[in-house]
Subunit: 340 residues, 2 copies
């Protein structure tokens, strides 16, 4: 790759489900505008053209790099994913995946229903040959950097071979997209010894150990996920989803308690005010919006799932990650790893 | 129960594994001394009589309510629980369980190996009739009070009927020991709808719903565990153990970051100093040492497992909880619930 030319300046075209997310389409449009301002991307906003046109008009019209692709429907958060995706052929999320399939975009991003994002990607693109089950990877901040936890909810009942593929896909993603060298892949367990844990993890352990091309470092326990001892932590989608949501819940509790503590009296209020800039910097390190969404790994295309409550910055970072996944050829890299 | 007489003043005799725990026997002795000072309990310190005698001598001799029962061995943290318990018949944890079996004590407490505490209780006392698998319940602080999460690691591969019994035992414990009226029992899942989740939880759901005498409130997600929407959260021992240890890990990370934020500059140091008393009060609400250890439920006796890093206060509170479990007749109550 030539410096100044190659990867850093390569334009990538990304379709985004503009109607998905708690604050869509407003925040999605904001994120797209942020993205085209400082990244070499073209963004296709997929959704209601009237609403999207009005939002862009407020910002002085669509800047270079942004266009609208009309979709007449949107999938509600509560809907059954597979049914909804099959029935609503002109929904923003289905159309976004179709644009990728047809080559009109190279990746898709959605902050809507995770299930619908998965279903539309999987049904239209299919799985990478050799991958038995796709997985959702979630990047979490650690004391020393970040860790990819997967699966975060794509496959709740897993077989040992699924966990092995999760390890391979996670390793590939951390290396290709997050720039992590020889990612340390660990198996989430209830003890460090090889003989610990459920039947599932006990069977997965030797398979992960023997799989060529990944740096398997053994078991880690729940308390190690955030300590930075591994770059990729593998678990079934039930456990991963519970941990991910528990982390969100616990962060909320800690913040609430901190706010209460600060409010307690005049002394604490003053102390809180003085500490605020440093607390802000601390919080930024834990801020999921910096991490750019969760990749759906194992499908034949790049699909980034952004948090439902994403703000503009989170959407912008999801677009960045989508671009890097395309440039890192994550699909091809997983295919060659899994297929050996 | 007569006021001033009944339950509040009833003396209970508790055997404690004095050699178990990261800082044993020192902290165990401290905890026992704290307990006999303000609780109507007699504590039998089970362990090396020379060491224990010396520790008590330093405190001016054994006060009323404390006695030593010699045990010549101790089980190491890393040992295989069942093997170690079978081989080391005179280890402190095995002897403590035997004292309960023989009626020389009414409950046992240990801060040693969780597996060894389980194995010695289970092998010597057996299971309550009708209970298929024992469970470890862990009390966690929530925004509104506290929640019992179980199983926290006793049974990693569960059947639906196991989860049902966990719900029943957890409900009984919260009602009888923690004074919670009609505890709300929830199933930990990755979505709120009945049809969500793994095969295990989907099969457990209707069984929990139909089980007489418990107040089943449906599914909760990971983010709800600490929000106070349920009093008892049921899951298999793999998931529970991961969540519990993840919570510990995350608490460590948050504390580390908070300390770093406070250290950052002079302004933040001063702010931290001013906020300190209020932060302390906040931390106290999250402090596991207040909650007195985890009950092993489903065995025919009262066995309280205290955290390995327990200090004196945590041990004292584990003794308190053991006493309340005896007075609440937790074993009899579970037996009659499960057996119908």
């Amino acid at each position: 790759m030539n410096s100044g030319q190659g990867r850093d300046s390569t334009r990538v075209r990304i379709a985004i489900d503009a109607m998905g997310g708690d604050h869509a389409p407003q925040t999605v449009v904001e994120g797209a505008l942020l993205a085209v301002r400082d990244l070499p991307v073209d963004v296709v906003l997929v959704g209601d053209e009237v609403q999207l046109g009005e939002l862009l008009a407020k910002e002085g019209g669509a800047p270079k790099g942004i266009e609208i692709h009309h979709a007449s429907e949107a999938i509600a958060m509560g809907a059954h994913p597979v049914e909804a995706v099959k029935r609503h052929k002109d929904s923003s999320i289905v159309v976004a995946a179709r644009l990728v399939k047809e080559g009109a975009a190279q990746a898709m991003v959605s902050a809507g229903s995770t299930g619908a994002a998965m279903a539309s990607s999987l049904l239209q693109w299919g799985r990478i040959k050799g991958v038995e089950r796709p997985a959702i990877g979630t990047v979490m901040p650690t004391l020393r950097g970040r860790v990819l936890l997967l699966d975060a909810g794509a496959q709740v009942d897993c077989r040992p071979s699924h966990l092995v593929h999760f390890g391979v896909m996670g390793s590939t993603y951390m290396e290709r997209v997050m720039g992590c060298k020889e990612p340390r892949v660990a198996l989430l367990n209830i003890g460090e010894e090889e003989t610990k844990g459920s039947d599932l993890v006990q069977e997965a352990y030797p398979k992960l150990k023997e799989f060529p091309g990944i740096n398997f470092v053994g078991n880690v326990e729940g308390r190690d996920i955030l300590s930075g001892t591994a770059d990729v932590v593998v678990c079934d989608g039930f456990v991963g989803n519970v941990v991910l949501k528990f982390a969100e819940g616990m962060a909320t509790v800690v913040l609430d308690l901190l706010r209460e503590a600060i409010k307690e009296n005049i002394r604490s209020q003053l102390g809180g005010w003085m500490l605020k800039p440093s607390l802000r910097a601390m919080w930024k390190r834990l801020d999921y919006t910096e991490y750019g969404g969760a990749p759906l790994l194992g499908v034949r295309g790049v699909s980034i799932i952004s948090h439902g409550s994403s703000n503009g910055k989170a959407i912008r970072n999801a677009i960045r990650v989508a671009r890097e996944s395309v440039l890192g050829n994550i699909v091809g890299a997983i295919a060659s790893q899994v297929d050996g």
